[in-house]
């Protein structure tokens, strides 16, 4: 076994595997180093379920066309313009072919899942979810002759003048603690599981964050690259956060700990006070703001409070709601001040104006005379049992990354392109996604730039 590969891929998720497969198909010898054990391979890809690709016509599983322009407008809207138009439009154009290419790599599509009808036109769902998608990519990569190593933690990168030379390993692989390769593809994700790093921006509050993915998304490769002169992109202080159940495990609770019941009730903090308009916007946008809102509350905890009339209005939840026959009983179970919670709910109920409830549109059920107002879907909370979900910020991914070109080639801090270093996936997502998120975009970035990075890395190795 040669100790020098044409292409070294660091990471083990969608972007890494697309890069490995594409490089191997381009004729390169490829080694994938996944820092996690085999079961936890794939980083956040484990928890994904769909990908957003442009397409000009309906397909077997997509209900209608989603043009490049529409995709671009959606991206512009969610990022508030914090995107690189050239790179983003390139990605969107390439995403069209990914719909077919990824199937050639063994991934299977299915129509949008129950409860996600709003994505039926824009997003293609993986049959069996993200881990099934990963399994298919790994099987294809191994069949093509890509070498894969698990528990392969990289401790250092040897980089000279923007040129990758070798990666040093924590434990030897085939007797080697240093792997040399002609090209590098860094596809090792962000740093969302690195609490110490998050604390640099969030302070002690980060101790109360729950991490939705595995504990292995520590951003060590990203840090090494930035320390060794790769140009950074994206706001380092920002991360994508949603409100997830406070009873969820610290790491890897995935999608099932989420709550989408905010619009059906009110949200209070530990002082039993409301702090934001629960009816501001419709799914999925409303889903994505609550992580940050809860992070700003004392002790980073909040409680979604509703009553028994709305229990069947949202998806069944992993953790059952906490119930009380009276507001005071519920407050006791939540360890909130009973008087304060009763006051908040009484005032809220008194402020609710009559309207026609419809949670699928921005309806006319509003409050009057309280601050903050609830501007849609406001209904009185008055039918026991009273119910609550405790929620905390659930961190999905981070925005800080390495700047890249259209060829997925890293740019050095001095603006020069690296000779042989490429990046794909979350580690460079900030180029396209400066902030915000729309379902399935992370996977689009991963597959499109993974495929490009692998192709370019192989091309470099052959020359």
């Amino acid at each position: 076994m040669s100790s020098k590969y044409d292409v070294l891929v660091i990471g083990g998720g969608n972007a890494a595997l697309c890069a490995a497969i594409s490089a191997r198909r381009g004729g390169a010898s490829v080694l994938v180093l996944e820092g996690a054990p085999k079961f936890y391979r794939g980083g956040n890809t484990r928890h994904t379920r769909n990908m957003r690709c442009a397409h000009d016509a309906a397909t077997d599983i997509l209900t209608g066309p989603y043009t490049e322009d529409e995709f671009w407008e959606d991206l512009l809207r969610v990022t508030g313009g914090q995107t690189d138009e050239v790179l983003a439009r390139h990605m969107i154009r390439e995403s069209k072919d990914i719909l077919n290419w990824i199937v050639e790599q063994g991934v299977r599509w299915q129509p949008s899942l129950g409860g996600t009808l709003s994505l039926g036109r824009t997003n293609s769902f993986f049959l069996g979810g993200g881990r099934a998608m990963l399994n298919a990519l790994y099987l294809t990569a191994e069949r093509l002759g890509v070498d894969v190593e698990y528990d392969a933690e990289v401790t250092d990168l040897v980089i000279e003048d923007g040129m990758f030379l070798a990666a040093r390993l924590k434990r030897p692989i085939r007797g080697e603690t240093e792997i040399r390769a002609t090209s590098l593809v860094a596809a090792a994700g962000g740093f969302e599981a690195n609490i110490e790093w998050l604390k640099q921006y969030w302070g002690e509050a980060a101790d109360n964050f729950l991490i939705r993915g595995t504990p292995y998304n520590r951003g060590s490769i990203l840090k090494m690259l930035l320390d060794k002169g790769v140009q950074e992109v994206g706001d380092p202080t920002q991360c994508h956060a949603v409100a997830i159940d406070a009873r969820a495990p610290k790491f890897d609770g995935g999608i099932i700990t989420r709550h989408d019941s905010v619009v059906f009730g009110i949200v209070v903090n530990k002082h039993a006070q409301r702090f934001y308009d629960e009816g501001e916007d419709i799914w999925p946008k409303r889903y994505a703001i609550w992580g940050r809102l809860v992070a700003a509350q004392p002790d980073q905890i909040a409680y979604i409070i509703f009553d028994s009339t709305v229990v069947t209005s949202f998806m069944p939840t992993l953790f059952p709601p906490i119930a009380g026959q009276t507001i005071a009983e519920l407050a006791g179970k939540l360890e909130l001040g009973p008087a304060a919670l009763e006051k908040t709910i009484t005032e809220f109920n008194a402020a609710v104006r009559p309207g026609t409830f419809d949670h699928t549109i921005l309806d006319d059920c509003v409050t009057e005379g309280i601050t903050p107002a609830k501007t849609h879907w406001a209904r009185r909370i008055e039918t026991p049992p009273y119910l609550a979900y405790p929620v905390r910020p659930g961190i999905t991914f981070t925005y800080l990354g390495t700047r890249v070109t259209k060829e997925a080639r890293m740019l050095m801090a001095d603006g020069k392109p690296s000779a042989n270093m490429f990046a794909a996936g979350e580690i460079m997502a900030g180029n396209v996604l400066g902030k915000g998120y729309a379902a399935g975009m992370g996977m689009t970035i991963g597959s499109v730039f993974g495929r490009i990075a692998g192709r370019e890395a192989a091309k470099h190795a052959r020359n």
């Binding site: 299915q110 129509p111 979810g129 881990r131 099934a132 995935g254 099932i256 998806m315 069944p316 992993l318």
Partner: protein
């Protein structure tokens, strides 16, 4: 909570899965689950019997062990399924047969074959038992046709009665929310789904057995076994018609319909069970209900024995071995019949009923 520990665990898993739904496209279990927000014992037994144990949801699940959510749907539903066989067994006094099923089946099979050999030996002269018999009615020199027909009809009718009572209890238990009788369309759909093992395919990727590669061939071997069994049953039925309608007595020439059907079926019943057994021994223990190994292997062995003794009888029917082989074959078939309601055979009955229920639910949902 539920009556048993395994149903509590199945309930916990369905709650996890219902908040995820990534596996919705893999099979019928998850769409059926999504039609519910809470799960009664009957619901869980329905889902358990709807599961074909393809293993895909385990390999695809981001929360399967070693994840702390410890989601293992195939194994949990396999245990629940086996316990449901005992729970619905008729008469209830015999449900204990499922507890040590491998032992029960082996003892009954051994006793049955021994009884036929002893019976043949006691009722026939030595020269008849080991004689060479050819031509129409050769078999009946050892056991009169009417005795054979009466004995096997009684065993078969008992099996039908016990199975019918069992599946009736199951059907009532899984009846909510639709209840009532099965409609023809749903039954037809279930026949198609069962006939092609539609849900033993990992959602199209294939099934999983020894590892995380979808290389499993159980579907093929199950088809060989199941259609082999049906062909053998058809052979017997045709022969019975020959006998009573046209007075044509067995054995029949090799080209005649009962022999052709029986030979094809017999090959299926030999190759299929061997394949299923090999697949079972290689299967990842994580996916298996290991306590039911005896039940599974017992049934596989009974089918194999039936096929093997039948084929041996066909090949050697014109030799002196015919008498003892006939005894062995009849003993195997008799044991197979009377153990049908108390062994792995019932999986097909309950799964079919579950598929009918699923077809009904899909129709009801589409219509609403």
């Amino acid at each position: 909570m539920h009556g048993t520990r395994i149903l509590d665990e199945a309930d916990r898993l369905m709650t996890v899965c219902n908040s995820c739904r990534y596996c919705e496209g893999l099979c019928a279990v998850f769409p059926a689950m999504e039609m519910r927000r809470a799960f009664s014992d009957g619901d869980l037994n329905y889902l358990a019997n709807l599961c074909h144990s393809c293993g895909a949801c385990y390999v695809d699940c981001q929360f399967s062990p070693p994840h702390e959510f410890n989601v293992n749907v195939p194994k949990t539903l396999a245990v629940a399924r086996a316990e449901s066989y005992a729970a619905y067994a008729w008469p209830g006094a015999l449900s204990g047969a499922f507890a040590r099923n491998g032992l029960v089946i082996s003892v009954i099979a051994a006793l049955s074959m021994a009884a036929f050999i002893l019976g043949f030996a006691a009722l026939n002269d030595h020269s008849v038992l080991f004689g060479v018999h050819t031509g129409p009615g050769a078999f009946y020199k050892l056991m009169p046709h009417n005795a054979m027909a009466a004995l096997f009809s009684a065993a078969f009718l008992y099996a039908i009665l016990a199975l019918a009572m069992s599946v009736r209890a199951f059907w009532r238990d899984i009846g909510t929310p639709i209840g009532g009788r099965a409609d023809g369309g749903s039954i037809f759909q279930a026949i198609r789904d069962a006939g092609e093992l539609r849900y033993l395919h990992g959602g199209g990727v294939g099934c999983y057995n020894e590892d995380d590669k979808p290389t499993d061939r159980r579907k093929l071997f199950h088809h060989l076994t199941f259609y082999g069994f049906l062909l053998c049953f058809a052979a017997t039925s045709v022969a019975t018609l020959y006998h009573y309608l046209w007075g044509r007595e067995a054995p029949y020439p090799w080209w005649d319909l009962p022999v052709v059907l029986g030979s094809l079926g017999g090959i299926g019943l030999i190759v299929g069970p061997i394949g299923l057994f090999v697949a079972k021994t290689g299967r990842d223990p994580a996916l298996l209900d290991e306590n039911r190994y005896g039940m599974d292997v017992g049934f596989i062995a009974m089918l194999f024995l039936t096929g093997f003794t039948g084929m041996a009888l066909l090949v050697l029917r014109e030799s002196a071995a015919m008498g003892p082989l006939l005894a062995l074959h009849l003993g195997a078939v008799f044991a197979l019949f009377i153990t049908m309601p108390y062994g792995k055979f019932v999986h097909g009955i309950y799964r079919f009923a579950a598929l009918v229920r699923y077809a009904q639910e899909r129709r009801s949902e589409a219509g609403s």
